[in-house]
Amino acid sequence: MSWKHFESSWWCRLSAVACFGLALLLAEGKSAASEDLEVTIGYLERALPPAPVLSNLETIPTDQGLAGAQLGLADNNKTGKFLGQEFTLEKRIVDQDQDLSETARELLNRTNLLVTNMASEDLLVVADMPEARDALLINVSEGDIELRNESCRRNLVHTIPSRAMLADALAQFAVQKKWTRWALIEGPESEDHAYAKALERSAKKFDIDILGKKTWDFDADMRRSATRELPLFAQSFPEHDLLVVTDERGDFGRYLPYNVWIPRPVAGSEGLRPDAWSGAVEQHGAAQLQRRFRGATSRSMRPVDYAAWAAVRTIGEAVTQTKSNDPTVLRSYILSDDFELAGYKGRKLSFRPWNGQLRQPIPLSHPRAVVAQAPLEGFLHQHNEMDTLGLDRADSLCSMF
């Protein structure tokens, strides 16, 4: 066999293989089934011991967030198996006194897609690590407004609503009800202060008067004395329509409803609550998500669980649509107009391109039923009514996007 002959037959063979491969690709491309894709999602949590509260009755689940992420993963895989996409969750839970950076670095070396369940300070440490430069972090637990504003980061998006979104939802409801004279009781913790600030911001935005404000600083055991002390505490408020309380950890607020000086409804972190999610949400197919979650965990789904579910589903949806696991591709798709997520809230959810916040309806509920869901009718917006909640493009001081 001459060299020339060899060369031509070699080419023949090569092109035949190529043609065969191309034919296979074309055949595959006909339906949605495509090349196999493995996607690793990191779950990083700073676990803090539960804050002490007055009531001993309630057990606070220790898997908040993680349980939601795991359900999202199961949903992703049920979809992914038809498309040759496989999702895995690498979870890392760091104790109060462990080094977060070290764990974050190790996890970031394995994956660039991170679901984060931690407070602002920790979150910024992780987001600013050099290893996280090309990563996509999804915040599922921190409602801090600043994280969506001056402290925003290019690699950080949020599925948990900001406190501004929650406060705006309550304010819209109050305006609709004409309950526009508020009295505000602020809890002693920094998060209570942050929520009170958000409510004050919303009151200004929707022309609500906060006629009285007091900080709860009693340290009595309210199981014995709630009926005596709280009415007296609220006695000095001027006439108001709604008593608003900020007590995020659920310490004293529970002793307020029905136990006030003048008969007024209670809202905020007690009574009527604006949340990302609550056990009472059932419309728009939500009952199915609630059942799936309860089936897996034997408890009801909490806001952080919902946000973690939405974070993992966001990645799943973006991977399904882009057929990529590259965080840069996913990030630009997630922030684009094409992205939409069905999140059991009756509207398609998407991310604000100016600060990476997931826009979403906010249910206002008590433990047994949803009373209303913001944005409420009549609160209009030139682009998307969900942007009447929280930081709109014009308010945003985030310049990283």
Partner: protein, 328 residues
């Protein structure tokens, strides 16, 4: 074979005995009331509710057997499909349906019922004669929409949270293709000629039309209504006229039914109906369309020729599905 013949004879005998007895009656529209655990029966002529029948918990999908001798009903929270005698209203027996049956479709052979089990991500195939589960097929999250091609070869399940249509070979019960659609597909149906598959996407706000042979997307229909927020326009149930002329698409909280040209995919009109319109059915000659309006708890009757609503009929709480049977 013998059993089949017996059934057929029985059906004919039953039909004959019914025809010979009593005065000429009009057809009936059966409506499942999701939150009342009842069925409202509407008389086609008087357009009034003439009977209310107690059924299992959370009745949703309903369909008649091909000879209209029995009604199949998804009693979702009772985890069963009930087989009901439409004359007496009595539950004859229950089919093993898998958990939380939501919608189903009866194969043209009148024997196999394909049921979407919403909570289990499964499509269950039940033999309605032997009352046995023949197969269970893994599908995506929250299966809902069910369709079967007119030739009986392909069964479709759409999964709400996986956003895809699964194409199932009716003979082998294997999935042969998966095609992506927009967010939250709710309903699927083949055109009468079997050449197209239509799938509605509630949150995506669209209807996708597939070419059946190539399983490829052929068209996507979007809706726009003056004065209605785009995200309130949520396509759910729909019906295709068998003459290939119109598609009627329920738009959920937009409280309207869209009229679409089946050939050009152009939206011709929007008809105002009750609140949160969900599913619908035609009468026998397709001159009237009955839509279930969940929130307002009523049924709107639409004149198909004039494309106008002619009456609203109060039914039970949260009417969900509707099915027609000719005069018994």
């Amino acid at each position: 074979m013998y059993v089949l013949r017996c059934w057929g004879l029985f059906g004919v005998a039953l039909a004959l005995s019914l025809v010979s007895s009593g005065p000429l009656a009009a057809g009936e529209i059966w409506v499942s009331n999701e939150k009342d655990n009842t069925i409202s029966v509407i008389d086609e002529e008087s357009l009034d509710v003439v009977r209310t029948i107690d059924v299992g918990e959370r009745p949703r999908g309903i369909t008649f057997s091909k000879d209209h001798s029995v009604l199949f009903l998804c009693a979702s929270d009772s985890d069963t499909v009930q087989v009901i005698d439409p004359d007496s209203g009595e539950v004859l027996n229950e089919l093993p349906s898998g958990e939380d049956p939501e919608q189903f479709v009866l194969h043209p052979d009148n024997r196999y019922l394909y049921i979407a089990n919403e909570d289990d991500a499964i499509t269950t195939v039940v033999d309605v004669e032997s009352r046995k589960v023949v197969a269970q097929i893994d599908v995506g999250v929250e299966p809902e929409g069910m369709a079967v091609s007119p030739d009986g070869k392909i069964v479709i399940t759409t999964s709400e949270s996986s956003n895809m249509a699964h194409w199932i070979d009716a003979e082998t019960h294997e999935i042969i293709a998966n095609t992506l659609v927009d967010q939250r597909p709710r309903h699927a149906s083949f055109t009468a000629d079997g050449r197209e598959l239509w799938v509605s996407s509630e949150i995506g706000g669209t209807v996708t039309v597939f070419d059946v042979e190539s399983q490829s997307e052929k068209a996507k229909i979007a809706f726009e209504i003056r004065g209605v927020r785009p995200d309130r326009v949520q396509p759910v149930g729909f019906e295709l006229t068998s003459d290939g002329k119109y598609a009627f698409v329920a738009l959920g909280p937009a409280n309207r039914v869209a009229v679409v040209d089946q050939k050009t995919y152009e939206v011709l009109d929007y008809i105002l109906v009750g609140r949160r319109v969900w599913h619908m059915t035609f009468n026998g000659d397709e001159s009237l369309l009955f839509t279930t309006n969940g929130v307002s708890g009523d049924v709107t009757v639409i004149d198909v020729e004039k494309l106008q609503p002619v009456k609203t009929i109060k039914v039970g709480r949260f009417p969900w599905d509707a099915a027609y049977r000719p005069s018994p």
